[in-house]
């Protein structure tokens, strides 16, 4: 494998990054367990929802600003909590979370979401 600063046959930046991405995707498909993939799909959904809300705000205007904020914070909060759940469930991280079982992680996830929902609904107006 050629080191980055050695002059080698011309590859171009884009092709380097393309191989990087394809390798990453391949690794992801093969080695991640299904449960984590489910959570990853959920994360993508949350992300898109947040992006679309932000897009609306930028394009059309911040008219009910409190509604925008509560929606956006809901997305951000949910994303963070889902990431926490993913980390805690991942069997590869078992050594870091000896006291926390996956069930316990899920219970925490639910409880935190309840609090988040309470705040969001209060603020949405």
């Amino acid at each position: 494998m050629l080191l980055p600063f050695q002059r080698g046959p011309f590859r171009g930046r884009t092709s380097v990054s393309l191989t990087l991405i394809s390798r990453f995707v391949e690794e992801y498909r093969s080695s991640t367990p299904n449960k984590l993939k489910v959570i990853d799909a959920y994360l993508l959904y949350i992300l898109l929802t947040g992006v679309f809300q932000f897009l609306y705000c930028v394009l059309v205007g911040t008219f009910p600003f409190n509604s925008f904020l509560s929606g956006f914070i809901a997305c951000v909060g949910s994303f963070i909590l889902a990431v926490c759940l993913r980390i805690q469930i991942n069997p590869q991280n078992k050594r870091d979370f000896l006291t926390v079982s996956p069930e316990r992680a899920f219970a925490d996830f639910l409880f935190a979401h309840t609090v988040l929902h309470l705040v969001v609904v209060n603020f949405v107006g």
Partner: protein
């Protein structure tokens, strides 16, 4: 430093002493008539008969039907009561030819009452009755009884009765101690703001004190220890009330008035001007009434003007001029000294009797005059002074024949002189106004005419300068001269001329608006906060769909990944958990639409705890299953 203080205090006290008080309240002839009417009311019993008869005698009035009154007294007399005997004796003494029959028992009763054990009132009544009935009495016994009484009861009324009693005793008796009580009693009087001097017990007590003190002082021929200012203050207190609540109060005022007019030492003098103190050519005499407190004129007095000076300059016009007595009124022809119009300060002294108190009076006298207007010249002057002014002379009270024209290039001017009609001295009255009245619109503008250094009045109207006052309305204005002063007998309102004013027409308002202050003002429309502009509904709906679209993506991905619910354990806790969780989400929606935070927390607590317990159970089961499966 101490010497300086002492010296200034001495000077101050001397200055204060020279300014004597004069009575501010006194009885007028109507008040005396009213007092007489109160005392003349028909009497119902012996006590009211006593008050009426003796009171009227103090005012110098004899009762009309003496015989009838005498009969009344005799029939109402109760010989066994000291009080009844006192009233009868005193009343009969005031009536001429009325004799009360006296028996030995009566005499013994009266003599027995004179002792230390009787009250001061009883001693007074018995001594007065004995004295009026002409019966002998032992003065020294009375004196000792009185002294014992005073030492037992130290109140004001007791001492006053003691003074009255002592005045009926023989002059050989030792009345010195009782005489000293006058001074002690005078010290107990309350001084109210330097004007009034009275006992806190009231008017009647003060009046009785005055009559008792002077009665005793006259009896022993020793001047009472009352200063002149105190006497005047007592006069103010006693004669400030002009209607009396009871017969006894009226009686006490009548006896006080009598003692203040007739005693040997102090006679307060009341000086008042007859009518307003104003003099003019038609009324050149200043008339003064000089009376005692009962409104009886003091004909023996001689009234003198010590000095008469103008209020402003203090230079004396008159000095030591006597008043002449005519029909019980003192008069002085002040106009003979030819005073200029204005206010004068008179200092009048009343002499003739050493008993007179408050016999220096300060009076303010007004001298009025008639005013004449001389040399009224009206002219229209060109501003650039290209042509000479056209002057028209107008004589009061005629009006100028032709109207004067003044437009924006000209000024209208007026000059005149105000003089005293008789002396020809120039006058400057307080009010000299020039009024221009537009007869068509009713508008009027008033200016002040001011005198220059030579006392010549000038008024100039610059049409351009003053156009705001006129609202630039052209037209014919009637010109009036208004003049008035307190010392003028003939105030003047004179329509001098008509003035036609022409203003530049562009500035004139089209309609003449009456300057009304009290019409309703224009209504203020409140502007509510505009709601913010919302984007069109299409855009909102489109974006809502866009935001919800990732959910579809999620479902698709999950299906692709093979997410399923095959691990669903059919146990009650699972069901309960899921139902509880769904309920919590439902509660969130309801919170958004209907509830507030407190209600939500309440429901959440209930549902949440159920869900928690169920979920805990479920997850524990799952964990056990997972560990078993490993």
């Amino acid at each position: 430093m101490a010497h300086l203080c002492l010296f200034s205090l001495l000077v101050l006290s001397m200055v204060l002493e020279t300014q004597a008080l004069t009575p501010t309240h006194h009885l007028t002839t109507t008040d005396v008539a009213r007092l007489q009417a109160v005392l003349s009311q028909p009497f119902t019993d012996l006590k009211s008969a006593y008050y009426s008869v003796v009171g009227l005698s103090k005012l110098g009035i004899l009762v009309a039907d003496a015989d009838e009154t005498c009969q009344f007294i005799k029939s109402n007399l109760d010989p066994s009561s000291v009080e009844s005997l006192f009233y009868a004796a005193e009343a009969s003494q005031a009536l001429s030819g009325c004799e009360i029959p006296v028996s030995n028992d009566t005499r013994d009763l009266l003599l027995a009452t004179v002792s230390e054990d009787s009250t001061a009132s009883q001693i007074h009544q018995s001594v007065s009755a004995l004295s009026s009935l002409g019966l002998p009495l032992a003065s020294q016994e009375v004196v000792s009884a009185l002294k014992a009484r005073i030492s037992k009861e130290d109140n004001v009324l007791t001492i006053i009765l003691a003074l009255q009693t002592a005045s009926r005793l023989s002059q050989q008796a030792e009345l010195g101690d009782i005489l000293e009580e006058i001074e002690d009693l005078a010290a107990r009087l309350d001084d109210l703001s330097g004007v009034y001097l009275q006992f806190e017990e009231g008017l009647e007590t003060t009046a009785l004190f005055v009559s008792a003190a002077y009665a005793l002082s006259d009896h022993v021929d020793m001047e009472p220890p009352l200063k002149e200012d105190q006497v005047i203050q007592l006069v103010n207190s006693i004669f400030s009330k002009k209607s009396w609540d009871s017969l006894s109060e009226a009686f006490s005022v009548a006896s006080a008035a009598e003692s203040l007019s007739n005693n040997r030492f102090h006679v307060p003098v009341i000086v008042s001007a007859q009518g307003p103190a104003a003099i003019s050519h038609s009324q050149p005499f200043l008339r003064l009434q000089v009376t005692d407190v009962l409104c009886q004129p003091l004909s023996s007095a001689s009234v003198l003007v010590e000095s008469a000076s103008t209020s402003s300059s203090k230079s004396a016009i008159l000095s030591q001029a006597p008043f002449t007595l005519r029909d019980e009124v003192f008069e002085l022809n002040f106009m003979a000294s030819q005073p200029a119009s204005g206010y004068y300060q008179f200092s009048v002294a009343i002499a003739g009797d050493s008993r007179f108190v408050a016999n220096h009076v300060e009076l303010k006298v007004k001298v009025s005059t008639r005013v004449a207007i001389n040399n009224m010249d009206l002219s229209v002057v060109d501003k650039d002074q290209s042509t000479g002014p056209k002057t028209t002379r107008v004589e009061y009270p005629t009006k100028a024949k032709a109207p004067f024209m003044a437009d924006s290039h000209q000024n209208f001017a007026m000059a005149f002189q105000l003089v005293d009609e008789t002396t020809g001295v120039e006058l400057t009255p307080h009010q000299t106004f020039v009024r221009l009245h537009n007869q068509k619109t009713g508008q009027e503008v008033v200016f002040v005419a001011e005198p220059d250094s030579k006392n010549l009045y000038k008024f100039e109207l610059d049409t351009t300068e003053r156009k705001t006052e006129f609202d630039s309305i052209s037209g014919t204005y009637a010109l009036y001269l208004m003049m008035g002063d307190a010392t003028l007998e003939n105030p003047i309102l004179w329509n001098v001329a008509d003035v036609v004013l022409k203003f530049l027409d562009e500035e004139a308002p089209s309609t003449i608006q009456a300057k009304t202050l009290y019409t309703p003002k224009p209504e203020i429309q409140h502007l509510f906060r505009e709601p913010e502009k919302k984007p069109p509904t299409v855009v909102s709906n489109a974006f809502t769909a866009l935001v919800l679209s990732p959910f579809l993506l999620l479902l698709i991905l999950w299906v692709k990944l093979g997410a399923n619910i095959s691990n669903f354990t059919l146990s009650p806790s699972t069901f309960l958990f899921h139902i509880g969780h769904a309920a919590m989400l439902g509660l969130m929606y309801v919170y958004w639409t209907h509830l507030n935070m407190f209600q939500t927390m309440k429901y959440l607590a209930i549902i949440g705890s159920l869900t928690f317990l169920a979920g805990n159970r479920m997850l524990a089961q799952k964990a056990v299953k997972r560990l078993e499966g490993k």
